[in-house]
């Protein structure tokens, strides 16, 4: 791939001033959509994404319902104003794909058998996009699902890693995604230590692949800590330990 500019400068810093192993600034707010049963707003660098969960609720149309478990319906959508050139609001091929992989990355964490014949609707709306929006979307969505009180085996955390200037770095942003060598989004369940999403766009050697995957999983663990804090903050305030008052 032809690179027009250096993505890592002489001091080892990336275009946005980060170190190779540094995540972008992440902020998660839980419960922003009052109408929804659960919701979360995430700022992942310059990404701004709202996730809202409705359900478990009745399935319409009825024929979609499954007799033994709940269905998860997921819609990833980018707002027309989320990018610098207007994005057509109609669902694009890319959005349909991301909706599907997002659903598949969250399903293993949910105990869908607890809600037979019902549906959980998940809406992920990108207000501002800056590369890595599917990872940020999954991260927010799993917090929204937990906020909705749906039975889950684990929280899903997502983070990408990739290759720029032939070097493996964590959390690829928009420029690095477009100009760099590879982008690998990974979703991961930190307690169960299972990967639920792994995509790869670009070319990596087997050694680079392993390094990239390890780095992405490390990133997921960092994201998890932020997710956990956000949930704790919403439900228990600043307390982390329950104080016994007898």
């Amino acid at each position: 791939m032809n690179q027009t500019k250096n993505l890592i400068d002489e001091n080892g810093r990336r275009t946005d001033g980060r170190n190779p192993d540094e995540l972008r600034q992440i902020k998660i707010t839980v419960g922003v959509v009052k109408n929804a049963d659960g919701s979360a707003f995430i700022e992942f660098g310059r990404n701004k994404i709202i996730a809202a969960v409705y359900g478990p609720r009745e399935v319409h149309p009825k024929h979609m319902a499954l007799p033994d478990r709940c269905i998860l319906r997921c819609r990833y959508h980018m707002s027309p104003f989320s990018t610098d050139t207007r994005k057509n609001p109609a669902p694009s091929r890319r959005e349909v794909e991301i909706s599907k992989v997002m659903r598949e990355s969250l399903e293993p964490a949910l105990i869908l058998e607890d809600y037979p014949r019902a549906a959980i609707d998940l809406f992920v709306e990108v207000l501002q996009a800056d590369g890595g929006s599917r990872c940020a979307g999954i991260t927010a969505a799993s917090i929204a699902l937990a906020d909705a009180g749906i039975n889950m085996r684990d929280i899903v955390s997502a983070c990408a890693a990739g290759k720029i200037d032939n070097k493996i770095v964590l959390d690829i942003n928009d420029t690095e995604d477009k100009e760099g060598g590879a982008d690998m989004p990974v979703a991961y369940m930190p307690h169960l230590e299972q990967v639920t999403l792994l995509q790869l766009d670009g070319i990596l050697t087997p050694e680079q692949f392993n390094e990239c995957l390890d780095k992405a999983i490390g990133g997921c663990n960092m994201v998890y800590e932020i997710q956990r804090q956000a949930l704790m903050q919403k439900y228990f305030g600043n307390e982390t330990e329950l104080k016994e008052e007898q």
């Binding site: 937990a146 009180g149 329950l242």
Partner: protein, 263 residues
């Protein structure tokens, strides 16, 4: 008294390791117990459970619920019980065993839009919940102000041995019916009392997880603080009440209904 260990958990957290019985909102993974909801985990002698702090209402057998008639077939009414499953009330339950669809007019007993207090008699994974109104305190609710709160807040609204709801009722001169599904009906002769009562209920819902809620509700209602006011933390009240006395909360709901019926 048995020792109960409590802690805050989010889904995926390990509550405890060892051979414990999973009771509610937990799963067993290998040798450890994992929480599946956000809430307060309780480890007692009989097992481990998580008291959830969020979530929609999922029916359970023997719950008292308040529902709205949304439709009827020739043999049963369909009732919206604020859940992802719509409940069914068989016509035989209301008309008796000699019910005949040709002879009896179902609309005369319960019309579409009517509110009922009912008990869930059957519910499992394969079938929608089945209701009954054949109990002394169940049946049609003739009047009142309807409001919905989160089902996870219902135990808090009732309070320890019904303390919270009694406080609100006495201070506002109203009768309050509470369904386990989070539907609340406020009845009373005095409009100001009803308004105040609704404000208090909404306050309990919004601030359910904060400490000293009873005092603040009393302040809102202008009730003097009694000496034996709850000094324990909110979470504890919630736990005791919801966990160990779940049966008594149901009875209390029923008691409310009896009182409501006589008023």
């Amino acid at each position: 008294m048995q020792e109960i260990k409590r802690k805050y958990v989010v889904p995926g957290d390990k509550v405890i390791e060892g051979n414990f019985r999973p009771l509610m909102n937990v799963i067993k993974a290998g040798n450890s117990i994992i929480a599946t909801r956000i809430g307060i985990a309780e480890t007692g002698r009989d097992g481990v459970k998580v008291i959830p702090l969020s979530g929609v209402y999922i029916p359970r057998v023997n719950d008292i619920v308040i529902g709205k008639i949304i439709d009827h077939s020739s043999l049963s009414w369909e009732v919206d019980v604020n859940s992802c499953f719509s409940a069914h009330l068989p016509a035989q339950d209301v008309f008796g065993r000699d019910f005949s669809p040709a002879r009896d007019d179902m609309g005369r007993q319960l019309a579409i839009g009517d509110l009922i207090a009912a008990r869930i008699i059957a519910f499992d994974r394969t079938r929608d919940p089945m209701l009954t109104i054949q109990d002394k305190d169940l049946g049609k609710i003739p009047r009142g102000e309807l409001l919905k709160i989160s089902a996870t807040r219902v135990p808090r609204l009732i309070g320890k041995r019904g303390s919270m709801i009694q406080t609100i009722e006495q201070a506002t001169q109203t009768r309050i019916l509470i369904g386990q599904n989070g539907i609340v009906v406020v009845m009373g002769r005095n409009l100001d009392g009803i308004k105040l009562s609704i404000r208090a209920i909404k306050m309990v819902e919004e601030e359910a997880h904060t400490a000293n809620l009873t005092q603040r509700v009393k302040a809102l209602l202008n009730v003097p603080d009694s000496p034996q006011a709850e000094s324990s933390s909110v979470t504890q009240t919630q736990n005791n009440q919801k966990g160990e006395e779940i049966q008594s909360t149901i009875e209390e709901v029923e008691e409310e209904k009896i009182e409501g019926g006589n008023a």
